[in-house]
Symmetry: C2
Subunit: 222 residues, 2 copies
DNA sequence: AGGCTAATGTCAGCGTCTGACAATTGACAA
DNA sequence: TTGTCAATTGTCAGACGCTGACATTAGCCT
C-alpha cells in the first residue's frame, strides 16, 4: 500500500493502471449500464441475468463474479450516491448540531449528486432506477436493509462527532432513525409524484426535515 | 357475510367448521411450526423447503400452495403479532395524542403478546425466530419492508383519528416514521443483548420511546 | 351411492446462484 | 521475444426456489 492510500483512504487511485484493471472496470460499468437500462425499460423481474450478460457479451458466470447476486447490480449507482452523502457528513463542521449536520449533508449531496455518479450512469437513469427500486417489492426490501446499514454508520459518525459511546447513549441512533424516517417519507412522496427532477426531491426533503422540530436537534449536553 | 362478521371484522369464526377446513388449518400450523423449528435450529438459509415439507409429510408443491414463498412462512407468527398490535392501536381512546396512542398500543401489545400467537407457536419459538430474522440479511430486508407497510397503515389510522388528509399533511407519516425508528433501535439492542424475555423488550421499548421528547407528541392543532 | 369440487401429488421446466475444471489472456522476468 | 505465472473467463453440472399443467385423491352434498 502506498503512502497516498494509507493517508487518504478511498481516494481515486492513479488512473493509468494496468490493462487488466481497466478492462475489468469497463466490463463492470458495461454490466451496470446494461442492467439498469434493461431494468428501467422492462422491469426488474422481467429481466434475466442471462439477458444482462448477453448484452455485454460475457457469460452468466462472469456476471456473478462481479456481483454477488442480481440485486447488487441494481444498487450500483445508489452505492455511489450513498458514499457521496456519507463523505459529505464527515466534512461538516465539528460545531454543528447532529441533525443540522445530517440536514446539511443530505441537501448538499442531493445538490451535487450528478458528479458522484455520472461517470457510471446518467443522472436520469439513476433517478429512473430509484423509482424502479421503490416500486419493486424485492428491491424495496433490500433498499430498506441497505438504508438501515447506512443509518448504523451515520449513528457511529454522529457519536464520534459528539464524543459519545454509541452503546451507552441511544441518542445518536435515535436522531438518525428519525432522520431516516423523514428521508423515506420524502422519497416516497417524490416517487409517487409527477416531477422527475433532482431539485424537486431536494426541496421536498428540506421541507419535510423542517417538520421534526427541535427534538434532539439542538446541541446535546453530555 | 353474516351480521357478526360484518360488525366484528376478523372475529374468530365458529370452530366447528368442515373437516376439510380443519385439516387445512392443521397442515398450515404444522408447516409453520416445523419451519420455525428448523430455521431456529439450523438457520434459514441452511433449511430447504423440501425439508420443511418432508417434516410435515406433504409435497413441496403443497408448501407453495400455503405460502407464496419460503420467506412468508418465516413471518407467520410476526404477522399474528402485528395484527394484534394494530388492533390495539385502533382500540386506544380517541382523545389520546398520536404518539401517546402508539406508545400505549405497543406496550400493551408486548404485554399480551402471548395470547395472540401461542395457539400457533410458543412465545419462546416466536422470540427465537425474531432473532433469526434480525440476523439473517435476506429476512431482515423483508422484515423492514413489512415494517414499512405496517407504518403506512399506522399513519392512515393516525390521520383518521386526527381527522387529517394523509396526502396533504405529512405529520401522520412523520410521527409514525419516528416511532418506527425508535422501535427498531430498541428491537436491535434487544437482539444483540443477553436477556431473552419479552418483558425486557417491553421495558427497553418504553425507555427509548421516552427519548423522542415533545416533537409531534402533543395534540396537533389543525 | 355417486357426482362435484377442492386439495394434493407428480412432472417438467425456468431462473438464480455456486463449485469445479479447463481455456484464455494479461503481467513480468529471463 | 519468449516463456512462465497468475488472474480472468467460459463451460458444465447441479442445488434450490418457484410455477404451470395435469392426474389423483378425498371431503362434501344431494
Amino acid at each position: 500500500m502506498t503512502t497516498d492510500e494509507a493517508v487518504a483512504g478511498t481516494t481515486t487511485p492513479p488512473p493509468p493502471a494496468g490493462l487488466r484493471e481497466r478492462k475489468k472496470q469497463r466490463t463492470r460499468s458495461a454490466l451496470v449500464r446494461s442492467a439498469l437500462e434493461l431494468f428501467t425499460r422492462q422491469g426488474y423481474e422481467r429481466t434475466t441475468v442471462d439477458e444482462i450478460a448477453e448484452a455485454v457479451e460475457v457469460s452468466q458466470r462472469t456476471f456473478f463474479r462481479y456481483f454477488a447476486n442480481k440485486e447488487e447490480v441494481a444498487f450500483a449507482s445508489q452505492e455511489a450516491a450513498e458514499c457521496h452523502f456519507f463523505a459529505a457528513l464527515c466534512g461538516r463542521p465539528a460545531g454543528e448540531a447532529p441533525l443540522a449536520a445530517l440536514r446539511g449533508a443530505i441537501l448538499g449531496a442531493w445538490g451535487s449528486i450528478g458528479e458522484a455518479i455520472e461517470q457510471l450512469v446518467s443522472p436520469e437513469l439513476h433517478m429512473r432506477m430509484y423509482r424502479v427500486i421503490e416500486s419493486t417489492p424485492s428491491l424495496l426490501a433490500v433498499h430498506l436493509r441497505r438504508t438501515a446499514e447506512m443509518e448504523e454508520r451515520l449513528a457511529r459518525e454522529i457519536a464520534r462527532r459528539e464524543g459519545l459511546d454509541i452503546d451507552a447513549d441511544p441518542r445518536p441512533r435515535l436522531v438518525v432513525a428519525m432522520f431516516g424516517g423523514v428521508i423515506r417519507v420524502a422519497g416516497k412522496l417524490w416517487t409517487e409524484g409527477e416531477e422527475d427532477s433532482v431539485v424537486t426531491l431536494r426541496d421536498l426533503t428540506a421541507f419535510h426535515l423542517d417538520y421534526v422540530g427541535p427534538t434532539l436537534a439542538e446541541k446535546w449536553d453530555k
